[in-house]
Amino acid sequence: MLLLCYLNSSDWINVSGIAVNAILGIAIALIISKRISNKRAIKDYFMNEIKNIREDYRKFLIDLFGGKFTFNSTNNWFQVMNMRLINLEETLKNIHKISNFGAKDLNHDLRDIITNHQDFNDAFNKSSVTISQLHKQEIVKKQAEISKSLMDTIIDINNS
């Protein structure tokens, strides 16, 4: 405080200039770091959503092979998953500029493999769908492709 008393008018101009610059610098740093943390938060959200989708596929196959799905509940599961993937694809394209989201088409392939199969159609009036061993292998192979595609998308989001 004592030092300030010895300042002349040109010194005051310099000091206030330094103070203004310091305040501006801090404000800009805060705004930029908030934007960076917002962007990080959005990335984390989508990466988490994709991890949830991978887990949902895993649970679906366990339950399908375990006889816990009927004809109708299988169709409904795929309908809901398809709409989820469509929304995700749209958002990834708009926000993260990711245009090669392969999981949606692979999901359609998986739905074909399961619901086009004679065993599945024969199970319409039964209490659950039964999947043969050969059919299971085809399903698991496609599900692995979906899992890899989703992993690739997580990497793309992280790198965007």
């Binding site: 004809f71 109708n72 299988t74 169709n75 409904n76 599961w77 795929f78 309908q79 398809n82 709409m83 469509i86 949606k104 088409d105 359609h108 739905r111 074909d112 619901t115 086009n116 599945f120 159609n121 024969d122 319409f124 009036n125």
Partner: protein
Amino acid sequence: MENSIKKYSVAKEFTNYPGPRYKNQGEDSGQKFFENVLDKLMADVIEEGGKLEIDLDGTAGYASSFLDEAFGELVLKYSMGVVLRHLLVVSELEPDWKEMIFKETIPEWEEKRLEKI
């Protein structure tokens, strides 16, 4: 009347729970949908020179086999050219069904039709 569009909603007018491929597998099958609905509607719009719009939205979900059988039989009976001239498909919630019908089902069943000739 030319350019008129006859609209049909699967969910409102046929079933909320589309069934399997064939009639002998269960009710509300793709085969039944073709025989009881699509066949007659397509014949009508051909005679009128109009279009048939099938709305797939609103059901609890389809098996690929239902749509493949229903629209495939349509091609087998009327040919791809006629079907493409008169058929419209609406599927806002799942656009890939529309893609499957026009890019896979219709061309594949047209090949089967030509093999039979």
